[in-house]
């Protein structure tokens, strides 16, 4: 129950409208499209790979942030 409260509080803070972290998502999307457009030529492949890049980076960073947050609470 304690862990759930921690995760809920963290995610609620992360996605609150007042948090400027929202601005990372458009930045990540632009990086994904430009980076993948230099790698492949077909528009469909660019879109698929950019989406994969965006999801991987966003979820990866979110998971990493959550783990570090829980570690700091335990210390």
């Amino acid at each position: 129950m304690w862990l759930w409260d921690v995760v809920y509080g963290f995610v609620a803070h992360l996605f609150s409208p007042s948090n400027p972290l929202w601005l990372y998502y458009p930045l990540c999307a632009v990086v994904a499209v430009v980076y993948k457009a230099t790698k492949v030529d077909e528009p469909k492949k660019i879109a698929c790979q950019a989406l994969h890049f965006f999801a991987s980076v966003s979820l990866g960073m979110l998971g990493l942030a959550l783990v570090f947050y829980i570690i700091t609470l335990l210390l």
Binding site: L23, P26, L27, V31, V34, A37, D41
Partner: protein, 140 residues
């Protein structure tokens, strides 16, 4: 598909054009679709960064400028605006504002992305078969 016109082009010219204007290196190589895509995204990122940061985050006396100036034309064009808004001795800059930091990040990433795009334009002409394509037969 490799564009035959790329064979007659100089990779160094593509590199320099790509720095002057994001995407211009690809336009020089005949890749107009990518040129428009890169120009619009990198310029939009640069302008968005300036707006988010309150217009005071493209300053030549900051280390971030080394990354920002890689965006070439847009960065150089926006520098005087930023200097004007920052005021004498950067007195109007709110260094503690998280949005200022985020705007600086936007502009710096725009610079790094343009560096990547410039290198892509260069290698596209210098090494046209790098994308795993078979070399084209020479015309008889």
């Amino acid at each position: 598909m490799t564009d035959r016109r790329e064979k007659d082009r100089s990779p160094f010219v593509a590199l320099v054009l790509g720095w002057i204007l994001p995407g211009a290196g690809h336009a020089y190589a005949g890749r107009w679709g990518k040129a428009i895509l890169f120009f619009s995204l990198i310029t939009a990122l640069m302008v968005a960064g300036l707006v988010i940061g309150g217009g005071t985050n493209i300053l030549p006396n900051r280390l971030w400028y080394a990354a920002q100036v890689c965006a070439g034309g847009p960065a150089l064009a926006l520098t005087p605006i930023s200097q004007h808004l920052a005021g004498p001795d950067d007195s109007n800059v709110d260094w503690a504002d998280p949005l200022h930091e985020m705007g600086t990040l936007y502009t710096a990433v725009a610079g790094f992305l343009n560096l990547l795009v410039m290198m892509d334009a260069y290698t596209r002409i210098a090494y046209p078969h790098r994308l795993g394509q078979q070399p084209q037969e020479e015309d008889a």
